[in-house]
Symmetry: C2
Subunit: 245 residues, 2 copies
DNA sequence: GACAAGCACTTGTCTATACAAGATGAATTT
DNA sequence: AAATTCATCTTGTATAGACAAGTGCTTGTC
């Protein structure tokens, strides 16, 4: 069985091979958001396996938030990227209509390689060190800055990131498509602080105004690999909303 | 089959019956945190069913965060209550050791039945109304107040809550044990605001200091039933941390 | 005593099958 | 033409087995 993989000494279970195959196709755009993926029986035939195995594969994708299953209809693509920890903006001072906000991302500084920021993530990381690919970005909604984001990715294994562009401008999408790195889990730490001069300048908010500070540690599917983020949000005009489950 | 349920017109699938049975036993303290629950084969015999069905039941409990499975060893109880949206306190000004903090909950006012708080959750709720069981509580860590919590539960169907005490002082645990209501999902909205006089007095923080404001809508396993919460956190001495997956 | 083999127990992966139940469109009846 | 039935697609639930692989205890050997 499994003509596709004959000869390859593949330690991965079948359901894992199938779910990664489908996930890759979703990432490649073969099945855009909202579209129907092949039915369980189709996948059974395609991979010459039993339905329970295919179901386990698809349930993995449900758990990771890639697809949604509908009884009697089929499995639909939920989102092209993993929604884990995704923050969406929701205007609350102007709850007028459902006119979505235009979201832009600006690089505050060009991407750089810097040593591990000592003391910043002290409560979440144990003994990180070495060089980190560092991104300083400003997220804007409707041309108004709402979030200042510092992202730290260990450079080891990602040297090629420096020379290449990000897929769709998204670091996480790039990691998933080009390196097979997916975010599995997220640990975060929330505080309310007063804006300092940097925050005030970049977020265009008064000095000392309350801003939301979030420290994040993303746990990936590669053991030992973590991505860190520090977010500063000015929430007077836009609040930060998210959905957990 | 299923001697236990013969005669009951039970619309629920077997795996659901099994997972709720085990969940109830965990809640009742039969299997404390860290202990071993019966093996898959034991449950197969107990419920006269196949292993795949038992596995589906246990996987439900894993998904909900109640148990953890270890290959070759067994299934262990992870936590006595659902961790969904649970906020844990993590001192960051005193990251000394792993000495856990003593957490207490004080009632600011006795529980009351009040009409739906107009305008408070306007961005998350559509057309809520009627009477709500309202709790105003202050959460303390090591005797220091860190979080002010307003909770709103529709009174319909929960009239008996007024006369009875909360199980272990926890509203969510009471809902789960006595009413079979479990939190499935959480929608939240985060902001940083300035402390007003109420916040300042209760949270013992300076007037105008930055505090974290969180609006929450809990989606339950009973369609149409939502629990709302509004949290105010003073994060100068304690930050708010949580884990998503 | 130290080590290795074997055994019993656990969860993990997988097969092949069956029927239930929701969705949908075509064929049939009214 | 409208309504109903039916066939056929989908996913959901369930059975009864099989072997693999991790864990830990017992037993036997050196």
């Amino acid at each position: 069985m499994n003509l596709l993989f004959l000869g390859m000494t593949n330690p991965k279970p079948h359901y894992s091979i199938i779910s990664e195959f489908v996930k890759k196709q979703i990432h490649e755009g073969l099945y855009p958001k909202g579209s129907l993926i092949p039915s369980e029986n189709d996948l059974c035939i395609q991979f010459d396996t039993s339905r329970m195995t295919v179901r386990q594969a698809l349930n993995e994708l449900v758990k990771e938030g890639f697809i949604e299953r509908k009884h009697g209809k089929g499995s639909f693509v939920k989102s092209e990227r993993q929604s884990l920890g995704l923050l969406s903006f929701k205007g609350f001072s102007e709850v007028v209509g459902s006119a979505d906000h235009e979201v832009k991302t600006l690089m505050v500084e060009p991407p750089a390689i810097l040593p591990w920021p000592q003391g910043v993530f002290e409560s979440m990381s144990r003994a990180e060190s070495g060089e980190y690919f560092t991104l300083k970005r400003l997220r804007c909604a409707d041309d108004a800055p709402v979030m200042l984001e510092y992202t730290y990715l260990p450079i080891e294994g990602f040297e090629s990131l420096l020379s290449s562009d990000l897929v769709d401008g998204s670091l996480f999408k790039t990691l998933s498509v080009k390196f097979g790195v997916d975010m599995r889990n997220l640990e975060q730490c929330l505080r309310a602080i007063q804006a300092d001069t940097t925050h005030s300048k970049l977020l265009k908010c008064p000095l000392g105004s309350p801003i939301l500070a979030i420290e994040r540690k993303y746990i990936t599917n590669q053991t030992g690999l973590f991505v860190y983020s520090k977010l500063y949000c000015y929430t007077d005009h836009y609040s930060i909303s998210n959905i957990l489950n």
